[in-house]
């Protein structure tokens, strides 16, 4: 069905088509989470919502930051700031593979000409205490998505199981648009009155952040902030479930989780500054995982996490 006429023309068109496609499949199209995260999985719409028994279906773009991957905008594929497209459906529908393949067609991949393969790739996030089984999806030998059935998050067994799809948007778009360097990729329609490339939008910020991430970020401050985020996360979760002011039961899983996300990103920044030794690394990851676990504990105590008044006893 897809032919050269229906090929997308720009990065944003690919995003828009994914948004439309998953909206048509019944997903709630959410907006990016308003914090720095390393991957779309960190969005509470994935991490927290994959817990508990409530059904869920969401799709969203998530700007993601990996400070160590910064290359001053010079590497054709590597960026310290990039976009992931994330889909999470709970319980995973039996036709999730077909739905996924439909999304590839929607963004202009002709199923009759390409070789799509599901290659084993088990997913594990030590910082989130999460793992799942699935594949990396190859299109003509290139990895275009991660496809995972979540088995555990925050130390909890996922029941029901969520199906998670993650598209690395820049790489996928470069492939579809036939671009060799990410900075050359058209961001909007090349025929627009003011055509903008990916480089027009992001080249300068890649340079600025690479310099800051690698050489300038004040590590004493970052370390202090890490400790503060960790302490705040625990302090939030130490509060009584019933709010003394309103008399309502309000478990603050999300505010606590924000602090966990902060700690995780601060760790990534410290890592990029090269001040974390191999042995310390494991200890830091363990501290973030402990926070994620506490947040998961709290979330399953909330309504969205499956708590009902009947559990109150």
């Amino acid at each position: 069905m897809a032919n050269s006429d229906t090929r997308p023309k720009s990065f944003q068109e690919i995003i828009l088509r994914l948004q439309n496609y998953w909206a048509e499949q019944g997903c709630a199209v959410l907006q990016p989470y308003d914090m720095e995260v390393g991957a779309g999985t960190f969005h509470p719409a994935t991490t927290l919502r994959s817990l508990g028994s409530q059904p869920w279906a969401a799709a969203y773009v998530q700007p993601s930051r990996r400070p160590t991957d910064g290359r001053y905008g010079e590497n054709p594929n590597r960026l310290q700031h990039y976009y992931q497209y994330q889909v999470l459906i709970k319980p995973s529908p039996p036709n999730l593979q077909e739905l996924y393949l439909g999304s590839l067609e929607a963004i202009g991949i002709d199923m009759d000409l390409h070789d799509i393969r599901f290659v084993e790739d088990d997913w594990e996030s030590p910082t989130l205490g999460a793992w799942g089984l699935g594949w990396e999806v190859w299109c003509d030998g290139m990895e275009v998505s991660q496809f995972t059935y979540f088995q555990q998050v925050g130390g909890y067994d996922c029941h029901p199981v969520s199906g998670e799809l993650t598209y690395g948007l820049e790489r996928l778009a470069m492939y579809i648009l036939g671009v060799d360097h990410v900075m050359d990729m058209p961001f909007n329609d090349p025929g627009a009155p003011i055509p903008l490339s990916y480089g027009d939008v992001f080249k300068q910020t890649e340079e600025e952040y690479a310099r800051w991430n690698f050489d300038v970020a004040n590590t004493d401050v970052l370390l202090k902030q890490f400790e503060e985020a960790e302490a705040e996360c625990k302090a939030i979760l130490d509060q009584a479930h019933v709010d003394p002011k309103t008399g309502k039961r309000i478990v603050m899983a999300h505010p606590a989780y924000d602090q966990c996300i902060k700690a995780s990103h601060l760790f990534n920044l410290l890592d990029a500054r090269g001040v974390i030794s191999v042995t310390e690394r494991q200890a830091y990851i363990g501290r973030v995982r402990a926070l994620a676990k506490l947040c998961a504990d709290a979330f399953v105590q909330t309504r969205a996490g499956g708590w009902t008044d009947g559990d109150a006893a």
Binding site: P76, N77, P91, S92, P93, P94, Q97, D110, M111, D112, L113, H114, D115, I116, R117, F118, V119, E120, D122, G132, L133, G134, W135, C139, D140, G141, M142, Y149, Q151, C158, H159, P160, V161, G163, Y175, S277, V278, T279
Partner: protein, 741 residues
């Protein structure tokens, strides 16, 4: 007799798990059927990425009737006992039979079981197999609780005979067994019904699925070779990759593509590794130049453009990957050409083990040891030290960071640009060997020196911090390291006093483990000087430590006493590994024990030489009989010594000899002693043992003719002292008391 066809259809099964899973399915189902009385003529297990298939031929249509007789409690036994028996037998009391036995009347249960139809048994067996399937990693999906490697979509389970096929009724968590399956995901979507294995296999092929993994692999290999051959090229064989790729496709289509000109000069191992690891491509070599010039990829489908789009896509991905590899190679070469200082500096910051310090410190220790060992290998100590310092440098290179399996090999490539001679280059790759029991053992002296130093440093290090292998736990592969040392020593016929090497390296570790830096540096300097002056040493360690009398830290004070024990313990570990190694080569354990009991047992080559000579000696008639004679004299001696409360040793004098046989034994012992001493000094064990063998006749004759215990105490004592001479002379060759039989 009916045939059974089972297909478990799922989402994509990891390639590496398919074969094992098909075999497990076959075993679980056939074992279950046979246990229930359903025998069969033949069974075959097959797999594709999306299905496990089991075909069983000539199955019984029903299990045979069975008849069982069980003896129960006595008639009149307590009700409880009888009820228990009835429950077990599944009968009521009126169905029991009373029979007279010599012990009185006893209940007997006669259990008749009618055979059951195959379908019923198959349903039970298959359900049990699915629910207990031994996947290395299984998962749940959706809202269900069934576990499978990936979501299980359908079960095909049919029994077929001349009259037709019927579905075996089965429902596992909502998945009902049927008689349909699916073809290729993209080329032939949709379900179809089958009537038996032949029909299934034919229809699958029409639906673009080759069922047999071997057939897919053969097809891939043949097509790839044809494509390469047509252009005068050849495929680099890679059986592991072939099996993996055959597990990634249902309809293999082989496509050959070009590697861009700019990447061809990269080391062939780099191209091969990058293509295999990242893209699962085969390498295509030009036999004339030895260079990798093209690649073969295997697609899972045919397309209208004959794979042109697929190949172009793959080629593009490969170029991006190889651009990375080229980038790493060029960056690495720049660092190497600048002397590689940056790599060595960065190794100083990489932890090797949290107690054993950084890679930098480790390299320093290995370099010292390699230098110390070098003279005994006829290696240049300077070169050995230089090679040891270089051997781990590539661990900091970008290429090895990306492809850890290229460690050592990259060090070899980067050695010349960094200004190192070929011996140093070869040591970089060879010092990791031998890895396994069948791995080649390096023979170049510099490589051997570094290989030994690396392994000995690791072993002594983990001994120093007391993290030795226990049972099946050997996380640092210390057994492999010890076996590596053994093979390096024996294959190169090296003469090394391991004991002294252990001592020296253990001390280096202990000094590093000490907290007191000032003492450490002074000690290290002293130790190095001592080694430079006298070579590696054993007791001298105490001397070195004694220099610091009073200044030694508590840690090193303790070490002074514990180090010899640690060293001995490590030697014991080597002896255990050596025993295993020699036992596999057919050397008896008692022979090894007899040689281990001798001095110099830390010299493995000497030890093995002695063991081999002793094995040969014991296989002769003289050897076997001499052994008996020596044992007899030892026993008599031991008894007399216990009775008299003295040890008989020297002083046997021929002038007190009475019988001719006694005099002859004196003469024979003199001759033997004269021959054995120089032979032992020359380590000519065969000659020493021959001289010992010559004692057989005189000893036998002596025991034949002479009574040891006579009333004349002078003669008796003289004879006992004579026996002790036998014991002493033989004990200089091997500890024969440890030989069994």
């Amino acid at each position: 007799m009916p045939d059974l066809l089972i297909e478990l259809f799922s989402e994509e099964i990891p390639a590496r798990m398919q074969k094992r899973a098909a075999d497990d399915l076959k075993k679980l189902v056939t074992d279950g059927l046979v246990e229930a009385g359903l025998t069969y003529a033949g069974a075959a297990a097959l797999s594709t990425p999306r299905r496990l298939t089991l075909a069983i031929e000539g199955l019984l249509a029903t299990s045979p009737d069975t008849h069982e007789e069980r003896k129960g409690p006595k008639v009149g036994a307590p009700d409880k006992a009888i009820e228990g028996f009835l429950r077990g037998a599944g009968l009521t009391r009126d169905q029991l039979e009373e029979r007279d036995t010599p012990k009185g009347p006893v209940y007997f249960a006669l259990i008749e079981k009618k055979g059951r139809p195959a379908a019923e048994i198959i349903a039970e067996v298959l359900e049990a197999a699915i629910r207990s399937f031994p996947w290395p990693k299984a998962m749940r999906w959706g809202a269900g609780s069934l576990r499978w490697v990936r979501p299980l979509h359908s079960i095909l389970c049919i029994l077929s005979d001349e009259t037709g096929a019927s579905v075996v009724p089965l429902d596992i968590d909502g998945i009902k067994a049927g008689d349909t399956t699916e073809g290729h995901r993209f080329m032939a979507p949709g379900r179809f019904a089958v009537t038996g294995f032949a029909d299934y296999e034919t229809k699958l092929k029409a639906a673009r699925v080759i069922l047999s993994p071997e057939e897919r692999a053969d097809h891939i290999w043949a097509e790839a070779q044809n494509a390469a051959f047509a252009q005068g090229l050849e495929i680099v064989e890679d059986k592991g990759l072939l099996a993996e790729v055959a597990g990634l496709v249902e309809w293999p289509v082989v496509l050959m593509g070009d590697i861009a000109e700019e990447f061809i000069p990269l080391p062939p191992e780099v191209l091969q590794t990058s293509m295999r690891e990242h893209q699962k491509f085969f390498s295509v070599k030009n036999p004339k130049s030895g260079l990798i010039e093209k690649f073969v990829t295997v697609a899972n489908r045919e397309t209208a453009d004959h794979g042109a789009t697929i190949l172009a896509g793959n080629q593009k991905v490969l170029s991006a990957r190889l651009a990375d590899a080229k980038f790493f190679w060029e960056n690495d070469l720049r660092v190497a050409e600048a002397g590689a200082g940056a790599w060595l500096d960065s190794l100083a910051n990489v932890t090797f083990h949290n107690k054993l310090g950084t890679q930098g410190e480790r390299i320093e220790r290995i370099a010292q040891l390699a230098r110390a060992i070098a003279p005994s290998l006829d290696a240049d100590p300077e070169l050995a030290e230089q090679a040891a310092r270089w051997a781990k440098a590539d661990l900091s290179s970008e290429m090895v960071y990306e492809f850890p399996e290229l460690q050592g090999l990259m060090g070899k490539y980067y050695a010349a640009p960094a200004g190192h001679p070929v011996e140093v280059a070869n040591a970089a790759v060879e010092h990791y060997s031998p890895l396994g029991p069948s791995d080649d053992v390096p023979s170049a002296p510099v490589s051997v020196a570094v290989a030994l130093a690396d392994k000995l440093d690791t072993l002594t290090g983990f001994w120093a911090i007391d993290e030795k292998p226990t049972g099946s736990k050997d996380p640092f592969a210390l057994r492999r390291a010890a076996l590596g040392v053994i093979r390096l020593v024996l294959d190169n016929d090296l003469r090394l006093a391991l004991d002294q090497l252990f001592d020296a390296q253990l001390l280096r570790h202990e000094i590093a483990l000490d907290d007191d830096g000032a003492v450490r540096n002074a000690l290290l300097r002293d130790l190095d000087n001592e080694i430079a002056d006298h070579g590696v040493f054993g007791a001298a360690i105490r001397t070195v430590l004694d220099h610091f009398d009073g200044d030694l830290s508590k840690h090193l004070e303790k070490v002074k006493d514990s180090l010899p024990d640690t060293s001995r313990d490590l030697l014991g570990f080597f002896h255990d590994r050596l025993k295993v190694y020699l036992r596999d080569k057919g050397v008896r354990h008692d022979v090894i024990d007899a040689c281990l009991a001798m001095p110099g047992n830390d010299d493995l080559s000497l030890l093995v030489k002695r063991a081999e000579a002793l094995t040969a000696f014991l296989s002769t008639d003289d050897g076997e009989n001499l052994l008996q004679g020596v044992k007899r004299s030892s026993n008599i001696l031991a008894q007399a010594e216990e009775k008299d409360g003295v040890e008989y040793s020297y002083g046997a004098d021929v002038k007190f000899a009475e019988a001719d046989e006694e005099k002859a034994l004196f003469a024979a012992l003199d001759t033997a002693e004269a021959a054995i001493k120089p032979a032992m000094e020359a380590e000519d064990f065969a000659a020493a043992m021959q001289a010992m063998a010559n004692l057989r006749a005189p000893i036998d004759a002596f025991f034949e003719a002479v009574q040891i215990n006579t009333d004349n105490q002078v003669v008796r004592r003289n004879r006992l002292n004579l026996l002790s001479r036998i014991r002493m002379i033989c004990a200089g060759v091997a500890d024969l008391s440890r030989i069994e039989g």
